[in-house]
């Protein structure tokens, strides 16, 4: 789908990947610690968007409840920390396990429907999770839960070190992108892709597409749970608002803004969107009044998102 070799688009992507690795050095030299904080958040949300892209872009499953896993992963860390268990190995395993289990249950039910119904049922399940968590008074309910100590790992790993935490997030993001890239180009990915274009035909050839899609759905949910665990460590706070349906909308925006179905698209989208958000909020308090119509323009005129534009431009440059 994406052109390989030396071209404008790949140069831009590689430049971005390298720039993100070098960012802490720039921060150390310039002393702008704020940039590091901003980009840590971007990386974490990019991870969530990347996982969403696996089901939306490759699988054609338009989940509108993806933020639920952010909340589940986040609350796994928050609740365990509240109960006095600080080991990152335990916390993160629970975060991943709980997200996977939730994805398995709602995926098994939701995948029986399609189209708008699928959008709505995933939304309904995410809202249910939202209300469950908002209703548990012991863990703060609506007000959220402050995390007083970050996840503890073995000696050299220390999440409270900002630069180290950034690199951990970045490494996990790159690993996920690589994993998804391998996955999408594998036999499994082909089946998923085929099921998106023509489910009936895939079944007629003999693929149990329901099971393939379910596995895909669970992988995406688990990865997003990981992003949730990172987000909880980043903000040192979790509240139900991270799993409200508008947050799922934000994730979809990142995916489509960057380029749906492209492996690096969500990263491009997250960087572009959140940097834009930062820049616009510097200009005016009412920045969403600009962002809203901008989104609309992207939907109407730039279907492939940023990655699509880059691919188009590199084709023009070549010819």
């Amino acid at each position: 789908m994406t052109p390989s070799g030396f071209n404008l688009r790949n140069v831009v992507v590689v430049a971005l990947l390298v720039a993100l690795v070098l960012l802490p050095i720039y921060v150390a030299l310039s002393g702008e610690r704020f940039v590091l904080t901003l980009f840590t958040r971007i990386i974490i949300l990019a991870l969530a968007a990347t996982s969403l892209n696996l089901i939306i872009g490759s699988g054609g499953m338009m989940s509108f409840g993806h933020a639920a896993y952010l909340g589940i992963g986040g609350y796994a860390v928050g609740i365990l920390a509240y109960e006095g268990i600080f080991s990152g190995f335990v916390q993160w395993s629970v975060a991943l396990g709980a997200s996977a289990l939730f994805a398995l249950i709602i995926g098994a039910l939701s995948l029986r429907t399609r189209g708008v119904h699928f959008i709505m049922i995933t939304l309904a399940f995410a809202q249910m999770a939202y209300y469950v968590i908002a209703g548990i008074a012991r863990y703060g309910g609506d007000d959220g839960l402050t995390i007083y100590r970050q996840s503890q790992f073995v000696a050299p790993l220390d999440l409270s070190n900002k630069a180290q935490f950034y690199y951990i997030c970045l490494a996990l993001l790159y690993a996920s992108i690589y994993l998804i890239w391998r996955l999408v180009n594998s036999r499994f990915g082909m089946v998923i892709n085929g099921a998106r274009s023509n489910d009936l035909r895939m079944r007629a050839i003999g693929f149990p597409t329901y099971r393939y899609k379910l596995v895909c759905f669970v992988i995406a949910g688990t990865l997003c749970g990981l992003a949730g665990a990172l987000l909880a460590n980043y903000t040192a706070f979790v509240s139900p608002s991270i799993m409200y349906w508008t947050r799922s909308g934000d994730l979809i925006i990142m995916v489509v803004f960057g380029g749906m179905g492209s492996v690096v698209g969500p990263l491009l989208g997250a960087v572009a969107l959140l940097v834009l958000e930062q820049a616009l909020s510097g200009i005016t308090e009412y920045w969403q009044i600009i962002l809203g119509p901008l989104l609309l323009l992207v939907v109407l005129f730039a279907r492939g998102g940023i990655d699509g534009l880059l691919v188009q431009w590199s084709a023009q440059v070549r010819s």
């Binding site: 959008i119 309904a124 809202q127 209300y131 012991r138 489509v256 119509p293 989104l295 939907v299």
Partner: protein, 343 residues
């Protein structure tokens, strides 16, 4: 999908038999209600509240399901029109000093906003992917929220009720109920009847129904489909605005008020069957009832089964979840909704 399910779906018959769970619940409530006078008063009050909330939800869901069914458009900005209705009404009431006049003006204003939005934006989204709809209208939602914040400020504004509506009325010996809520019930029922006549018994309604089952064919028969779509969208917007301005005196008009109720309206359209106004009506009443009665009586019901502590922890979450649970069950058991439009 297994073949059995497809076959069952093809033989889809409107389900008129209430599920057993509902019957048990109703039996419990009635026995509980008539054993104690105070509980009975509360029960009747909550039932009326449920009906009123359900009817209000119907106004929102009707517009949504029409737009959904006819233009195949997922409109997340529908809640924004609800919010605009409330803000317009509050502003016009402050200008004119008359509640009724403000309501009429607000209705007209949301109609105009709706039709404008359709002409400028929505028209370009028809025929696109549902994901495009979600994203594009999400952008609109952000725009409207922020525009309202820019114009009216971040704090909500109130719409005071005129004194003649702000009094309790005796409906049964010893039972009082808000006159305003009673008026709302009457008004929404009238609107529902009007919609029924409009959709089922007029030429425009015939075109709307025809458009829902086959857009291209209606266009090919020489109907100006563009104008029809603009009208339908405007109608939906006006209904949402009506719901918003009705709700404004009960809660305040505030930013984000549309976001929560929009999702409930979507739940209703899905339970009722997408595109079916009659389904939306039934589903809205069911959801209004389940939600209101659930919040009022579910904690007591849980206390019968669980310990007091467990019940007080679980009750608020479970009662907020009820309608989503209902929708999930409906979608799994009957993917096309309770009253699917026959194609």
């Amino acid at each position: 999908m297994p073949d059995g399910l497809d076959a069952r779906r093809n033989a889809a018959m409107p389900c008129r038999r209430p599920p057993a769970v509902l019957l048990v619940g109703i039996a419990y409530f009635t026995t509980a209600a008539f054993s104690d006078r105070q509980v009975m008063t509360l029960f009747i009050e909550q039932c009326l509240n449920g009906v009123q909330f359900g009817l209000l939800l119907f106004l929102l869901a009707a517009g949504l399901t029409l737009v959904f069914g006819i233009m195949d458009l997922v409109n997340l900005a529908h809640g924004s029109l609800y919010m605009l209705g409330a803000y317009f009404a509050a502003t016009f009431a402050a200008w004119t000093g008359s509640f009724v006049f403000a309501a009429v003006l607000a209705l007209a204003a949301t109609l105009v906003v709706g039709m404008t939005v359709e002409v400028i934006v929505m028209r370009r989204l028809y025929g696109r992917d549902h994901l495009d709809h979600v994203l594009g209208t999400f952008g609109l939602l952000l725009f409207f929220d922020e525009a309202v914040r820019l114009i009216w400020g971040p704090a909500g504004i109130t719409l005071p009720l005129p004194p003649w509506l702000n009094t309790p009325v005796q409906i049964l010996p010893g039972i009082q109920y808000s006159a305003y809520r009673l008026t709302l019930i009457g008004l929404t029922l009238a609107t529902a009847a009007f919609l029924n006549v409009l959709v089922m018994h007029t030429r425009v309604g015939m075109l709307i129904r025809a458009g829902a089952s086959n857009r291209e064919m209606v266009g090919a028969l020489g109907v100006n489909i563009k104008v029809l779509f603009t009208l339908v969208f405007g109608l939906g917007a006006a209904l949402a605005g009506l719901a918003g301005l009705m709700q404004a005196p009960i809660f305040t008009a505030q930013i984000g008020m549309g976001e929560n109720i929009l999702i409930i309206a979507f739940v209703i359209t899905v339970i009722g069957g997408i595109g079916s106004v009659r389904g939306a009506f039934m589903a809205a009443i069911i959801v209004g009832f389940v939600d209101t009665l659930g919040r009022a009586f579910f904690p007591d019901l849980l206390r019968l089964m669980l310990s007091k502590d467990a019940a007080s922890t679980a009750a608020p979450a479970l009662s907020s979840m009820l309608i989503y649970l209902l929708m999930a069950v409906v979608l799994v058991v009957r993917p096309d909704g309770l009253f699917p439009v026959r194609k």
